[in-house]
Every structure is written in structure tokens, then in C-alpha cells.
């Protein structure tokens, strides 16, 4: 079993290739989850950064003597060394100037430092390439040269925090800020407060528990009747049940909605629960399992004078724990993740009755400028089933497996 026990080089290479492929796919599968988790701990500004980074970071700042606020730190190249400098001023306008007769020989100057040639109000101009351009006095090597302004931009003034008189000027937007990895768990409390996600979470749990328990109960007794009790009409009803298994839910959404309007269950959690506890599929699944239970055990119990209910609870239910688990698993996931029906039935303004998927749907619009909060909300919806899954991993996977074999 151990790859290192393999003597053949070929086998070893093959196994390594298998692991490499599996790892690649595992990364593909995991990446969105990792992204969700780390982003949910970021600040909004951090989420809008490009290129994107996995870990949450905050810009670092530093107190510098002579400034009343902490200054943001940037990486700056000073005397050939990369240093951490503080941004003292931004948006300083600079211009690129050149003599009109030699546009290649350009120099850069702060706009605040240059004067118009001929003074304010009577600035001289010159024709360059058929266009009239203003002239400015530029000091170059101790001489004043009239030049034209070719282009202008802005720079920031970066200072050495330890020695504020050392200054470097460069573009702020393209400079790399100094950042620390900082996690923001408060995003979670913020999103809970913003959207009432705690209530949505408990509502979802309530709905899910009731649907799972209710469905198991009706399926077990229905499945038992189909599997073990002979009565006229049973088989034709079973065929009808079978036939409806592949009918998609959307077929029912309009009439079921009208039914809910009629009995006044719109905007009620009851509408998310009661219609869902009767399922043809679950009954079918239980029936399939019950017919595999040996008849002899049952007959022995009947001889002992056990009632049908006793037979069901003492013999059939214990014997069918795997089937029950399978159905509970699917129902759990279905109820936890369902969206279309709650969307139709629960008012968008009634956040007291929201389930998680609905709350997320509102959240995505309301927090569209803070992806960190949206993803924190998504994490709240996604993580509980994942925890359940990790705890009962083997069991979960096996239930899927058995459904596939049975199906």
C-alpha cells in the first residue's frame, strides 16, 4: 500500500503522477473555499486590490514627528536601496518641460517651482508643431531656459520616518504600500448585524430539522405499508408514486404557491416545512430497503404477539439505519440549500422569517460594495453543512454510494 515500498521505478513515477493529478484537482476544488474564508477576513479596500492576494492585509502606517496623523508607509528605492518611507504629501503636480526647439531634452519640475516666462498675465507663447504653447522659465544647470510644458502628472512626497528631511518623489499609485497581515473577524459580527444572519441561521436549522424528522417519519411508515402490508390498490398507488419521482419540483411551484396563498401560509415558515415532509422519493427509498429485511424475523415477532407498530419500531427501523441516514443526508442538504421556494414564499422585507439563502440574496445587493461581508455571509451558510460533513465524512460518502447503487 505504501508508495515507497514500490520497487519499480515505473510504479513510483506512475503513483507520483496520480498524486500530482489528484492534488491539482483537490486545489481546484478547495480554492473557492479558501478564497471565501480569507476574503471574509479582509477590509473592503483590500478586497478591491489588484493583483489579488490570498491573505488579508492592512496598509501599515507610522507616526512621524511633525505630522498630526500617522503616515502610510511605502516601499521606496533610495540611494539604490529599498527602504520603507512614509507618504507625507500626495498630489504634488509636476510637469515635463523641454525647450521648444529640442523636445527630446526634457526635464521634470514641480509646477509650484516654475514661473511663466514674462510673468503672470503676460505669459509668452511659442508655436510648436503648429500649436500655440505657453512658455515657462526653467532653471537648468544654473541657467534660466524658457521651455514648454509637454505633459504633467502628480507625485507624492515620501520621507524617511527616522529622518524626515530625506525625501523621495515618485508616483503614489504605482508605489507598493507596506502591509501587515491583519485578520478582521469583526466582519462576521458586522454581517450578522447587517442582515440578521443569526436569525436566518436558526430559522434554517429549525426548518431543516423539522423537514428531516417529518420526512423520515412519513417515509418510514409509508414505506413499511408498501413493503409489507398487502391491501387492494397498493400496487397501483406505488406505481403512481414511482412515476412522480422524476417530476421536477418547478412543476409544482405555481399551484403550490396558490395553495399557500389560499391557506394563508405565504410568508410563513410553515410553508417551508409542511409541504416538504411528504415525499414519494423517500417512501420509495424506504420501501426498497424494507423489502430486503427477511420475512422470518417479522413472522417470529407476529407469533410473539407484537403489534405492527412494534414490529416497525423494534425490527424495521433498527435494521434500516443506513437507509434512514441516506435519506436524512439528502433531505438535510436539500432543505438547508433550497432557494427558489423560499424566494417565492417568504417576503423579502420579513427578515424574521428569512432562511440563509434568502438572507444571502438580499445581502448580495445590500453589501455589493463590501465583498468581504458578502463572503462572510456565504461562509456562515456554507460552513455548518461542511462541519457536519467533516464529522461524519465516511458516513456521508457511503450514503451517496448506496443511493447510487440502489438507483
Amino acid at each position: 500500500m505504501n508508495i515507497f515500498k514500490s520497487y519499480h521505478l515505473g510504479t513510483l513515477i506512475r503513483n507520483l503522477a496520480v498524486y500530482a493529478t489528484l492534488t491539482f484537482f483537490a486545489l481546484v476544488m478547495l480554492f473557492p473555499f479558501l478564497y471565501m474564508l480569507t476574503t471574509s477576513f479582509k477590509t473592503p479596500a483590500d478586497t478591491f486590490r489588484y493583483p489579488p492576494r490570498m491573505l488579508p492585509r492592512d496598509p501599515a502606517s507610522i507616526e512621524v514627528a511633525g505630522f498630526d496623523r500617522p503616515l502610510p508607509l511605502y516601499y521606496v528605492t533610495h540611494n539604490g536601496q529599498e527602504r520603507e518611507f512614509a507618504l507625507a504629501q500626495s498630489n504634488l503636480r509636476t510637469g515635463t518641460f523641454a525647450p521648444a526647439d529640442n523636445l527630446q531634452a526634457s526635464v521634470e519640475r514641480m509646477l509650484a517651482d516654475v514661473r511663466p516666462t514674462g510673468g503672470e498675465g503676460s505669459q509668452q507663447t511659442i508655436i510648436v508643431n503648429g500649436k500655440e504653447e505657453k512658455l515657462y522659465d526653467i532653471t537648468l544647470d544654473g541657467q534660466v531656459v524658457p521651455m514648454v510644458l509637454i505633459s504633467q502628472t502628480t507625485v507624492g512626497e515620501f520621507i524617511d520616518p527616522k529622518n524626515p528631511s530625506v525625501k523621495v518623489y515618485q508616483n503614489v499609485r504605482l508605489s507598493t504600500p507596506v502591509e501587515d497581515i491583519t485578520w478582521h473577524p469583526e466582519n462576521y459580527s458586522a454581517v450578522v448585524e447587517l442582515q440578521g444572519l443569526d436569525r436566518a441561521l436558526s430559522n434554517t436549522a429549525l426548518v431543516t430539522i423539522l423537514v428531516v424528522l417529518g420526512q423520515l417519519a412519513t417515509s418510514v411508515i409509508g414505506g413499511y405499508a408498501f413493503a409489507r402490508l398487502k391491501f387492494p390498490g397498493r400496487d397501483s398507488i406505488f406505481v403512481i408514486y414511482l412515476g412522480t419521482i422524476m417530476i421536477p419540483f418547478v412543476m409544482l411551484i405555481v399551484p403550490l404557491y396558490q395553495l399557500m396563498v389560499l391557506i394563508g401560509w405565504t410568508n410563513r415558515l410553515a410553508a417551508l416545512i409542511i409541504p416538504w415532509i411528504f415525499t414519494a422519493y423517500g417512501t420509495f427509498l424506504m420501501r426498497q430497503f424494507f423489502i430486503t429485511v427477511p420475512k422470518e424475523i417479522e413472522e417470529a415477532a407476529v407469533l410473539d404477539g407484537a403489534s405492527r407498530l412494534q414490529i416497525l419500531t423494534k425490527i424495521f427501523i433498527p435494521a434500516s439505519v443506513p437507509a434512514l441516514a441516506t435519506q436524512a443526508t439528502f433531505t438535510f442538504l436539500y432543505a438547508w440549500n433550497s432557494f427558489l421556494w423560499p424566494l417565492v414564499i417568504i417576503n423579502v422585507g420579513n427578515s424574521e422569517n428569512h432562511v440563509l439563502t434568502l438572507a444571502l440574496n438580499v445581502l448580495r445587493g445590500r453589501a455589493s460594495d463590501t465583498p468581504n461581508l458578502i463572503l462572510a455571509g456565504a461562509a456562515i451558510a456554507i460552513i455548518p453543512p461542511l462541519i457536519v460533513f467533516i464529522l461524519g465524512q465516511r458516513f456521508f460518502v457511503e450514503s451517496v454510494t448506496s443511493s447510487g447503487v440502489k438507483g
Partner: protein, 553 residues
């Protein structure tokens, strides 16, 4: 007087009362019909309910002679009627006690109860852990007892946290009013009469056979499921069929319009084009049809027009989605399951990781992918950029970074949904395939090895044919799911129909027709067409599966 203590006399007395009770029932049910009509709700339902009441009344009346003759039919009718009456009254008690609507207020306190449910679970796990020590009875017993104590304490705490006792009190006070009391009275009456007929003694009197007993238990056991199924599934399904022939709009009573809805959906036209760029109005009756799309053939082509262009766009998108998403999630799954089946260490870990996306809520997952797909700051474009730069610098290529506008370009919007859906269902299918693989007997491979077959030959000649049932199951379920794609689109796209209607799907269009434009009759017709399409696809796969298994055999 002593006669009354004799069970036989008792039975006799009860059975003499029975016909009277049935006649009373008949009168009450008849009286119920005008009361029903005085209520204020939909006329269609009044008809249904009146009919039900009428049938019940009639049945009750019919049962009287049978009862008098001690015919078993009388007992059966009596049992059914009383049982239904009991159920009705019990539901009525719950309704009057506001249990159904009260689930909302339970939502408010459930949060507090949730941790205690956790304690209940812990207690249960203690008990379950006792199984780990089959050889240590003392330890087992200790664990079990601890478990039980924790479980019961947790449960009591839960009950207190969700105000069960206040609830009980409220429930009872609500019942103390005319409706509630009459419901309780009714339930008692029905219950008593049910019990009277159910008794062993009555059964004997009516000459019940074992088959009769089994029939009664059968229907009894099936009844909760069947009633729920009828009310919340079969009934609405028939209603949906009826709606599809009406102009129901959720505000006004529906009017029968025959097959107009279906005619509107299916009204398409196909016209040849002399010149591919020819405007649609040259060949189409533009007042009826809109252009859905055109296909190039030589210089000319074919133009598809439809009265309801959105339906056909939705059908096209949905089929395209299924056509790509299904293979994209099935083929890699088949490949991965074969790798996982190599029985190397750590495979369980990979299996678990692959399974994770299929557990997560699609709504949440779509929100995550929405930001991954973001064209300016998303990771997917970033990876592409990094890859392009790597190729350009490493291999001297001059590739251009495509900067794909994933969700906002009509060419890639559906593709982004396809990729995400494939990502989400792949792991689930992998696990299904893995189960199928593990059911293939190892001897087959051993024999093939002896015959000198290579890995590929084994895969083609053993694995694939033996996996055929699993493949059929996987492909069918994935296709059925794919045909109902909605949530991913609704969340990921803004607006949901996507750029240039490129992601409008059948279910999305159904939702839009039924709940935004309020053409609920039309939406029902769409639902039925959708069902027929799904049914047809499944049938097609079924045929193929049958064919391939014939070839094997």
C-alpha cells in the same frame, strides 16, 4: 344492569348506536355544504370541498344498511369516515392552537434552544461511543448512563429555552373558545367511534378476515404519507395541468383558454435566407414572430423565428448548458474515480475534498464565484494573466492576455455558469463512480492481466461496460439537474437573464413569467413543456443504455 358489563352486550349497544351516528354524520356533512358556500374563498375550492363533503355524507348514508346487516363494508366505510374526521379535527385543533403559524415565533426563540440541542447530540454521541468498547461492559455501561443523563438534561434545558410551558399554556387557552372546543369535541367523537369500530369485538361481529385487518393497517400506515402526497404533490400537479389551459394570473379567477398557452410557446417559424445578413422583416411576419437566431448555410442560411422568443432562447440556453455541463462534470469524474480507485494511501482525503463543493449551498457558492469571475479584480483572470506572462517570457510566445469579461459578455456568460456547475457536481459524480468501480469484481481484471491486456484495454473492455449502470444513473441525474438550472444564474448574473439574454434558462423564464409578469397559467404550460423535455431526454438515455447493454450481452 349487569348485562352492560358483559363485553358482548357492550359491543352490541355500541353497534346499535352506530347507524344513528352515521345518520347524524350525514346530516352534519350536508349542513356543512351551505356553511362552506357562505365562506369567503376561491370558488373552485368550494366546489372541491363541497364535493368531498357530499361524497362523505352519501357514504355515511350508504353505510347504514350495511351496518344494520352487520356487513363488513359498513365497518370499513365507518372506519374511513371516522378516521378522516379525526384527522380533520386534529389538524383543526393544531390550526386553532396556532401551531402552524406559530412556527414563525418559534424561530425567534429557537436560537436560544440551539446550543441545548447540541448538548442532546453530545449525550447521544456518548452513548454511541460505548460501541467502541465491546469488550469492556463496565465502561460501556458508564458511557451509556452518562450519555443518557447528559441527553435528558440537555433536552429539559432545550424545552425551557424554547418556552414549551408557556407554549402549552397558550395552546390550551387558545383552544378554550368555541371553534377550538368544537374541534376537540369532534375529535373525541370521531376518536370514540373509530375506537368502537376498531375493537377486536366489533371486528368479530362483522366477520373481519385477516386480509381485512391487513388492508386496514395498510391504509392506516400509508394514510399520512398519501394524504400529504395528494394535498401537496398530486393535487398541485393536476392543478398545474389545469392552470396550463387557463390565463391564471394570481389576482383574478382563472379563465379557460384551451391550448392557447401551448400554442404560443410552440408557435415557431423557420424561413430560408437568401443572404445571411438579410433583415428578419423580409422573411418573417414581424407582428407575430421575433427572430430567435439564424444559421449560416453557404451564402444564405436559415432563420428561426418564434412568437415567444424568450422561451426558445431559454430552451436553447438550457440545452446548451446541459450539453456542456454534463460531460464536463461526468468525464473528469470518471477519470478521477479511476485514480481514486488505485487504493493508494490518502485517497479518502481526496475523496472528501472532491465531495465538498456538492454539499455547499449553491447560493453561497455562486456568491464566491461571482467575485472569482470579476473581470478586473478576480482571481480567474489573474491566473490567466499570470499564465500568459509565464508562457510569453518562458517560451518567447506573444500571447495576448484575453481579459475575459466572464459574466458580462454574452459569449462567456453561459460558459461561466457551466464551469461553476461542473465544478460543483464533479465530486458527487466521482463518489458515485467510485462506488460503481468498487463493485466490479477484481477477478475480471486479473483474468485480463493474464491475457496480457494493457491498462487502456482493461479500461475500455472491463471498466466502462461494467460501469454502464452507474454511468446511466450519473448521466441521467446530472442531466435532470442541469435542465433545472436556476440558482447559479439568479445569483451570479445581474440581471439574471444575463447579457443579451444569454443566460435565461427555462426555470428562470418560468419564474419570471409566473412571479414577475404574473402569467401563472403560461408559467404552468412552460413547466409542462420543461417536464416533457426532461422526460424525453431521460427516455433517450434509457434507450441508449438498453442498446449498449444488449451489445454487451
Amino acid at each position: 344492569m349487569n348485562d352492560l358489563k358483559n363485553p358482548n352486550t357492550q359491543t352490541e349497544l355500541i353497534l346499535r348506536l352506530m347507524p344513528a351516528w352515521r345518520i347524524l354524520f350525514f346530516l352534519i356533512a350536508l349542513a356543512g355544504i351551505p356553511v362552506l358556500w357562505a365562506q369567503d374563498f376561491a370558488a373552485a375550492l368550494k366546489v372541491v370541498f363541497s364535493a368531498l363533503l357530499g361524497v362523505a355524507a352519501l357514504a355515511s348514508l350508504v353505510s347504514v344498511p350495511y351496518l344494520l346487516h352487520r356487513d363488513h363494508k359498513g365497518r370499513m366505510i365507518s372506519l374511513v369516515l371516522d378516521y378522516l374526521g379525526l384527522l380533520f379535527c386534529l389538524v383543526g385543533v393544531l390550526q386553532v392552537g396556532q401551531v402552524f403559524t406559530g412556527i414563525d415565533s418559534l424561530g425567534a426563540v429557537f436560537q436560544r434552544g440551539l446550543p441545548f440541542l447540541g448538548i442532546v447530540l453530545v449525550g447521544y454521541l456518548f452513548g454511541a461511543a460505548s460501541e467502541l468498547y465491546p469488550n469492556d461492559p463496565q465502561r460501556q455501561k458508564n458511557l451509556r448512563n452518562t450519555g443518557k443523563v447528559v441527553l435528558i438534561l440537555g433536552f429539559i434545558a432545550f424545552l425551557l429555552a424554547v418556552n414549551v410551558f408557556t407554549g402549552l399554556f397558550n395552546f390550551l387557552t387558545r383552544l378554550l373558545q368555541p371553534t377550538g372546543l368544537s374541534m376537540i369535541f369532534g375529535a373525541t367523537l370521531f376518536g370514540l367511534s373509530l375506537w368502537a369500530m376498531w375493537r377486536e369485538a366489533s371486528a368479530q361481529t362483522f366477520n373481519a378476515k385477516t386480509s381485512h385487518e391487513q388492508m386496514i393497517s395498510g391504509w392506516l400506515f400509508l394514510s399520512p404519507n398519501l394524504l400529504g402526497f395528494l394535498i401537496f404533490f398530486a393535487g398541485p400537479l393536476l392543478l398545474s395541468f389545469y392552470f396550463s389551459f387557463t390565463n391564471s394570473d394570481a389576482f383574478n379567477p382563472p379563465q379557460w383558454i384551451g391550448v392557447d398557452n401551448y400554442a404560443r410557446i410552440l408557435n415557431i417559424t423557420i424561413k430560408p435566407l437568401n443572404d445571411f445578413a438579410q433583415p428578419a422583416r423580409d422573411v418573417l411576419d414581424i407582428l407575430v414572430y421575433d427572430e430567435v437566431g439564424r444559421m449560416k448555410i453557404g451564402d444564405g442560411g436559415i432563420l428561426f423565428g418564434a412568437q415567444d422568443k424568450f422561451f426558445w432562447l431559454a430552451l436553447r440556453n438550457t440545452l446548451t448548458f446541459a450539453l456542456f455541463a454534463v460531460p464536463l462534470s461526468v468525464i473528469p469524474a470518471l477519470f478521477l474515480s479511476n485514480l481514486l480507485n488505485m487504493k493508494l494511501p490518502g485517497m479518502k482525503f481526496f475523496r472528501a475534498v472532491y465531495f465538498m463543493p456538492s454539499i455547499a449551498a449553491i447560493v453561497g457558492i455562486s456568491l464566491v464565484w461571482q467575485w472569482l469571475y470579476n473581470a478586473t479584480i478576480g482571481y480567474i483572470n489573474y491566473f490567466i494573466t499570470v499564465g500568459v506572462e509565464f508562457l510569453n517570457s518562458g517560451f518567447g510566445l506573444a500571447l495576448i492576455d484575453p481579459k475575459i469579461q466572464w459574466t458580462s459578455n454574452s459569449g462567456t456568460a453561459l460558459l461561466s455558469i457551466i464551469i461553476m456547475a461542473a465544478w460543483q457536481t464533479m465530486g458527487f459524480n466521482t463518489v458515485l463512480f467510485l462506488a460503481g468501480l468498487q463493485n466490479i469484481p477484481g477477478e475480471l481484471y486479473e483474468a485480463a492481466t493474464v491475457d496480457g491486456a494493457g491498462s487502456w484495454a482493461k479500461f475500455w473492455n472491463i471498466t466502462l461496460p461494467m460501469l454502464a449502470p452507474t454511468t446511466f444513473f450519473v448521466v441521467t441525474t446530472t442531466t435532470i439537474q442541469a435542465m433545472q438550472v436556476f440558482e447559479q444564474i439568479f445569483i451570479l448574473m445581474n440581471p439574471p437573464e444575463g447579457p443579451g439574454n444569454s443566460t435565461i434558462s427555462l426555470v428562470l423564464y418560468l419564474y419570471r413569467s409566473g412571479f414577475q409578469n404574473f402569467q401563472q397559467g403560461y408559467a404552468s404550460a412552460i413547466a409542462w413543456v420543461l417536464f416533457i423535455v426532461i422526460f424525453g431526454l431521460t427516455l433517450l438515455q434509457f434507450q441508449r443504455q438498453r442498446k449498449s447493454s444488449i451489445y454487451e450481452g
